[in-house]
């Protein structure tokens, strides 16, 4: 993780999806932690996410309040943080995606957050499993299009 921390400190984009989100919280690169789902047990499904912040490197190809259907596959996706941290996430616009229906018991229905600097991002759902019509869902493409756009802006 040391190399990842250096990259994050240098302002490079760091993204953790599912287990990756858990790792980023455990490494202290993102606040909070992920607990066992409110109803214990692994869930594989597709759920609706609401776009909270459409100004980030991870969501700029989307619009505020857009609803996208994205696969989930986790047993420990129940996001928890203390009240002060949650308030800070809300105030700073660090919450990028929320679950439309709270599938795992996450505080503030949080599905994906970024750090204050806006370069480290974690989410439990799997946009990478939703990028082709052939596999039944391409609504995760906007996430990757956002990343591409942000890299082009940088360049």
């Amino acid at each position: 993780m040391d190399a990842v921390k250096v990259a994050a400190d240098n302002g490079q984009l760091v993204i953790g999806i599912c287990n990756g989100f858990q790792i980023l919280t455990e490494a202290g690169l993102l606040p909070g932690q992920l607990l066992v789902n409110e109803q214990p047990g692994f869930i594989c499904d597709e759920v609706n996410l609401v776009v909270e912040n459409d100004q980030s490197a991870f969501s700029q190809a989307l619009n505020h309040d857009d609803v996208i259907k994205v696969p989930i596959a986790h047993g420990e996706g129940n996001y928890l943080a203390d009240e002060a941290t949650l308030q800070e996430l809300e105030d700073n616009g660090q919450i990028i995606f929320r679950y439309q229906e709270n599938v795992n018991g996450s505080a503030h229905q949080i599905a994906g957050i970024m750090n204050k600097a806006g370069n480290v991002f974690g989410m439990m759902p799997h946009p990478e499993r939703a990028v082709e019509a052939l596999t039944g869902n391409d609504s995760g493409r906007a996430f990757f299009e956002s990343l591409l756009a942000s890299q082009q802006t940088r360049a």
Partner: protein, 747 residues
């Protein structure tokens, strides 16, 4: 530690004590078998030798009682690159690629320890796949439990589902389907059958053979402990409700370790394949069976130094080392002098990889331990258990069965449909399947819940469809025809997705073969499977037998599970089971007769199944499957769904659920026949603009196809038969279908 070991060995009974106290009998060897061993060896076997014979001559390892039936399987055609006898079978799918698959049972361990039993079942079948050099791409499971009204059954279901999920999800191989059935026959003996499918480049195929004198035997993966000692013998005996089962005979799995072993093994094959002579998973009877079978297949001998075996517990005896079923272990045979790069590759992944012996040319199986030879036996003798002659008797329930078909009571067809949709065997299993990761690797086109799972093959236009199927009620009434029908239904499931069925595997779950009626069922089932497999051109390329599925001398119904794989050449033709749009025309393929004996409606209305099984028309089955595939490949079919339990009405209702549609159809048969289970039928939906072209294909194929009506947007299921009508809100039907299992599980 050395002295401790010597002391332990010193406490083992002597060869004379083993004979006098008949210790071999506790391990499952008969007096006759023991006498044969003494005669062949020219002396009494010591403790270790007796142990290794008991493991290798158990039914689980030797198939001594099932082999006479298994020899009847048909397993060769142009596609077959590897038939039965290896870790898994392999079929050519073109472009230098091949599909690898096998199914395996973990019934006994799953009853004793549901979570670990099911989890290690997944681990074991995955090792069979990657030992052939293949990347596993899917897991499927076929599960049978008692009725969900029992709390013990509900606990078993929870444990088994959690075990499959816990292992499969963690290792990152998607679960693409399977099926779950419930019947009292499985209350004391649930079935956990797991299938895995892998992909391999033909240039990288491996086999489990120990060729070449002097080549090195390398042990890879987890260290050996005292778990699952002599599990193969445990799996080859019946249960009794009065005796506590032997929990120490169940293994414990570690999917994270297996992930490392899997990736490193595949890596090793890709990088050093030329120097790797053979690979085999250490499954049943662990180090013993893998090493002796590899030598037996190659016609060589083996010499192992047991002091070198990686061990995680102190003071393991040779008997324990050889018969432990610790998980996540593989055995490699590597060309002499080329060991180091392979060992280094595994070491880099943090895995033990240790040279523990070599291939010899003397046909002996020789084990050395602390400077002594602790076993020295003939390999051919060890790996070819004598096959007992067993009697077959046709059960009287079949011989004397009433030929008349059950006549269902259908006064209110809507209510009958709603009740059938809530029968656990028909109702949605989504609340259970959702615990399985079905999308990891991002190749899944059709998830569990369709007629078959479908996975695309990256870099090509191809996809693979896969399914498991069994109807033990049909097999109970007629094991031969039931076997044919299981293969036929698996074929229909694949065809409905647009796939050409190309091959199959099986799990034969039966009671004790020592019961002549059970042995008859086994032979009949194999013959039935082979007849239909030949007709469908789906050779049986691998498989597994699980006998002694009995509790208190009550055998389960004959349950021959069929796992089948199909090839889709163009992924644009992948077809789903559910209706796609209002206005599409609905067609029924195949004729409907009074097929009620063994049906879900008979079970629901009478609480049992009885009578002579209805007729199976193989020619119609083949013709209908051929027609459906042709229509799908012509791009004319919006949806295709095979008819099975519950018949036409259930299939029509199921097809409306995904998109909350309705339908308005007329059926030129009786209301009772809406629930008939005549084989060989499908429902198709066709967009209005394709109707003319579709009807031309009907004429060309001389298929028995009738238009039933139309998919509607009004969310009502309207089915009019000659003497009754179903009129049921889609939402109400769906509610019964989706909530039946969650409600039962919550009790």
């Amino acid at each position: 530690m050395t002295t401790e070991n010597i002391n332990l060995m010193a406490h083992e009974p002597s060869p004379d004590q083993i004979a006098a106290d008949r210790i071999y009998a506790d391990w499952g060897l008969t007096d006759h078998e023991y006498d044969l061993i003494v005669k062949q060896m020219g002396r009494r076997p010591n403790y270790t030798e007796t142990g290794i014979f008991s493991g290798m001559w158990s039914e689980h390892c030797s198939y001594k009682k099932s082999k006479p039936a298994l020899r009847k399987f048909w397993s060769k055609n142009d596609r077959v690159l590897q038939g039965p006898g290896e870790g898994a079978g392999i079929l050519d799918i073109g472009d230098g690629q091949a599909v690898v698959f096998k199914a395996e049972s973990h019934n006994h361990p799953s009853f004793v320890e549901p979570y670990e039993g099911a989890a290690t079942g997944v681990g074991g079948i995955l090792r069979d796949i990657f030992s052939m050099g293949a990347q596993p791409i899917a897991v499927l499971d076929s599960l049978r439990f008692g009725e969900l009204t029992s709390a013990k059954t509900r606990n078993l279901v929870d444990g088994v589902i959690a075990g499959i999920a816990g292992y499969g999800n963690a290792i990152g191989i998607p679960n693409l389907g399977g099926e779950i059935g419930f019947d009292d026959t499985y209350a004391g003996n649930p079935l956990v059958n797991v299938m895995s499918v892998g992909l391999v480049n033909q240039a990288e195929m491996q086999v489990g053979q120990a060729k070449g004198t002097g080549n090195t035997i390398i042990y890879v993966g987890a260290k050996t402990g005292r778990d699952g000692i002599n599990g193969a013998s445990f799996a080859s005996a019946e249960f009794s409700s009065t005796e506590e089962s032997d929990r120490s005979a169940v293994q414990v799995g570690d999917p994270f370790l297996e992930k490392l072993v899997m990736d490193a093994t595949i890596d090793a094959i890709r990088q050093y394949g030329q120097n790797i002579i053979g690979i085999q998973d250490m499954g049943a009877a662990g180090l013993l069976s893998s090493s002796s079978e590899m030598a037996s297949k190659a016609g060589t001998g083996i010499e192992l130094d047991l002091d070198l075996v990686p061990q995680r517990e102190a003071a393991l005896t040779p008997y324990e080392l050889m018969l432990s079923e610790s998980q996540e272990r593989m055995l490699l045979v590597v060309q002499k002098g080329q060991e180091q790069p392979v060992i280094d590759l595994f070491a880099k992944a943090g895995l033990d990889a240790v040279a523990i012996g070599q291939v010899t040319d003397d046909g002996r199986y020789r084990l050395n331990f602390q400077g002594e030879t602790v076993a020295d036996v003939d390999i051919d003798f060890l790996t070819n258990a004598p096959e007992p002659q067993l009697d077959q008797v046709e059960p009287s329930r079949i011989k004397e069965a009433d030929a008349a078909q059950y006549q269902p009571v259908v006064d209110d067809p809507s209510a009958v449909l709603a009740d059938l949709l809530a029968q656990p065997t028909i109702a949605s299993k989504a609340s259970l399947f959702r615990h399985f990761d079905s999308q990891v690797r991002a190749d899944t086109v059709i998830k569990p819940g369709g007629d078959a799972g479908v996975s695309r093959i990256r870099g090509t236009k191809k996809a693979l469809a896969m399914t498991t199927d069994v109807n033990s009620r049909f097999a109970y009434l007629n094991p031969r025809v039931g076997g044919q029908m299981a293969v036929a239904e698996a074929g229909r499931n694949l065809v409905a997705t647009g796939a050409l069925p190309i091959g199959m595997t099986d799990c034969l779950n039966f009671g004790s073969p020592d019961n002549p009626e059970v042995y008859y069922e086994l032979h009949q089932a194999v013959e039935g499977i082979t007849e239909m497999a030949k007709a469908l051109n789906t050779p049986v390329i691998s498989g597994n037998v699980s006998l002694y599925n009995e509790t208190d001398n009550q055998a389960i119904m004959p349950t021959a599970m069929v796992g089948m794989v199909g090839l889709i050449e163009d992924n644009q033709n992948i077809t789903r089971a559910n209706f796609q749009a209002a206005g599409d025309k609905v067609y029924l393929v195949g004729q409907t007769a009074d097929s009620f004996n063994g049906s879900e409606i008979q079970k629901m209305q009478t609480g049992t199944i009885a009578g002579q099984l209805f007729d199976f028309d193989q020619a119609a089955e083949m013709n209908n499957q051929g027609f459906v595939l042709a229509a799908i490949q012509a791009g004319l079919v919006q949806s295709a769904h095979d008819l099975s339990e519950g018949g036409l009405a259930v299939a029509l209702a199921e097809a409306t659920f995904t998109k909350d549609l309705g339908l308005d159809v007329n059926f030129a048969g009786s209301a009772a026949q809406l629930f008939s289970e005549t084989s060989g039928r499908f429902i198709l939906s066709v967009a209005a603009e394709n109707v003319a072209a579709f009807e031309e294909i009907i004429a060309e194929n001389q298929a028995r196809v009738v238009e039933l009506g139309t998919v509607t947007a009004d969310q009502t299921i309207k089915i009019t038969a000659t003497d009754g009508q179903i009129d049921l809100a889609t939402a109400q039907a769906k509610d019964r279908y989706q909530n039946a299992i969650p409600q039962l599980m919550a009790e």
